[in-house]
């Protein structure tokens, strides 16, 4: 992290214990917030957006105090912001840097784009198999259709 970026992080406010998700592309910040359902949390949450970033131009950041996300939740972020960074903070110190990794199966995260798919008609979980990480190519376990890139809609 560059010095400028470091300062930006501090601008948003340091946390004692919790999770910091950094380097989120600005246009993806609220999507990331949404898939983590942070609106349902009672923890202290700091959200910053359109912060200066050498790498991205502008970026977003989410800090959640006293919250340590499960790997499943973290991996969801990889769907929309694969290059985001996630730091686990304990006593103001970064104790773990987690790399985002798209899981091989996505359960109840993505909506099937095929209107004739059973998942769009039954009260059931969706399930997609990741066929290609780079192009975000997913195959629906049920209708077997393939979706990629912008066709992928988060539930």
């Amino acid at each position: 992290m560059s010095k400028t970026e470091n300062k930006q992080v501090k601008i948003v406010a340091a946390i004692k214990d919790g999770t910091v998700i950094d380097r989120i592309p600005s246009d993806k910040l609220f999507k990331v917030a949404s898939i983590l359902h942070i609106e349902e949390l009672s923890n202290q949450i700091t959200v910053g957006n359109n912060l200066e970033s050498q790498e991205l131009g502008t970026k977003g950041i989410i800090k959640v105090s006293d919250k340590f996300f499960s790997d499943k939740d973290i991996n969801k972020i990889a769907l929309i912001a694969p290059n985001a960074k996630l730091n686990v903070i304990r006593d103001y110190v970064v104790v773990e840097k987690k790399t985002l990794k798209l899981p091989s199966v996505l359960e109840d995260i993505v909506k099937c784009g095929n209107p004739n798919c059973i998942t769009n008609h039954e009260p059931m979980m969706t399930r997609f198999h990741v066929e290609d990480n780079h192009t975000l190519t997913l195959r629906c376990q049920y209708c077997e259709r393939v979706m990629s890139g912008d066709e992928v809609k988060i539930l």
Binding site: N114, N116, P123, Y142, C143
Partner: protein, 331 residues
């Protein structure tokens, strides 16, 4: 008492002959499982089904389903497929429950598919289902306590059709490998051609796709061929292109698959096979069609010895007998 005991233990029909297990090179574990997609079966499992089907063709009346109840759940009507499955069960000595139209089932009252399947799997040993929504059979196989055989889920899969196609190809060509397979008509929406392509990929085929631009073979299947090093050629005309064919797989351009009916009107009569087109074709050529046909095969082709589509439908019976028996772990 002894009569009762005899009835309880004598589960075989007195006239039934035990089915002989075909000799195959690879010994497989029991195949008791659902069949939702053709890719659920390995190459060896497919060949095993074809071998059993050949045994059933020799002797279709085998009472190996005595005491078994098979549910045929047809959430959309499909008389041909339903009759084929139900004949298969009847010839195996099983009993059938079910419905042939969703309007006579609880789904018309708003019951979820899950609830219907849960309820039926309390009663039946096996579920055969047809559903208008894609993925319905996979979901049913996840919630059912008993194996599920997919008899068609929307435009997605119809694996027993694929197996009967393979059976017909092997029977008429006496092999499955190194064949020139020509697919004609609706290659975009036609699920039978997609599944057949996936299944034939095991047997070093050469594909020829004959379709108008609107109904071309989708890129994902062409990519699949590329990855598997399967040669394929695309044509727009149905003419002397077919002279090198071993199998000519005709399909119906289905009106219900078009959202734009103008597009349908443009292409519906583009490919009609006529008997004079067969003059210079190979002697071993056989014409397959999943049926029903509308205008894509002229009636004068029916008399040709190369027309095989009605025998093909009959083969479905034997293949379904094999699939049902294997899904129940009886073979």
């Amino acid at each position: 008492m002894s009569f009762l005991l005899n009835c309880l233990t004598n589960t075989k029909h007195p006239l039934s002959k035990p089915i002989t297990q075909p000799a195959i090179s690879i010994q497989l574990l029991s195949m008791q499982k659902s069949l939702v997609s053709i890719t659920d079966y390995s190459k060896e499992e497919m060949l095993r089904i074809l071998d059993y089907a050949a045994e059933f063709e020799k002797n279709p009346n085998q009472h190996i389903l005595d005491g078994k109840v098979v549910a045929t759940l047809f959430f959309e009507p499909s008389t041909r497929t339903r009759l084929s499955f139900e004949t298969a069960v009847n010839r195996l000595g099983g009993r059938i429950i079910g419905f042939s139209d969703a309007s006579t089932s609880s789904s018309s009252k708003g019951e979820t598919l899950k609830d219907t399947i849960k309820m039926v799997s309390n009663y039946a040993d096996l579920i055969v289902m047809r559903h208008p929504l894609e993925g319905a059979a996979r979901y049913a196989s996840e919630v059912a306590k008993v194996p599920v055989i997919n008899a068609g889920d929307g435009s997605n899969q119809h694996p027993t059709q694929t197996l009967l196609d393979l059976y017909s190809i092997r029977k008429t060509q006496e092999r499955l490998t190194d064949l020139n397979i020509y697919m004609v008509g609706d290659l975009k929406y036609g699920r039978t051609v997609h599944s057949l392509l996936m299944a034939m990929a095991h047997f070093k085929p050469t594909f020829h796709f004959i379709a108008p631009d609107e109904l071309k073979m989708p890129n994902e299947y062409k990519q699949f061929c590329d990855e598997q090093n399967i040669p394929y050629f695309e044509h727009k005309e149905l003419n002397e292109n077919i002279n090198e064919a071993d199998i000519l797989y005709m399909t119906r351009v289905q009106r219900e698959r078009f959202t734009d009916l103008m597009e349908y009107e443009k292409v519906k009569n583009v490919y009609t096979l006529k008997s004079k087109m067969l003059e210079n074709t190979r002697n071993n050529l056989r014409i397959l069609h999943p049926l029903p046909r509308v205008t894509e095969i002229d009636y004068d082709v029916d008399d040709s010895e190369k027309a095989y589509y009605f025998d093909q439908a009959q083969n479905g019976l034997y293949v379904r007998q094999a699939v049902i028996s294997c899904s129940l772990g009886l073979l």
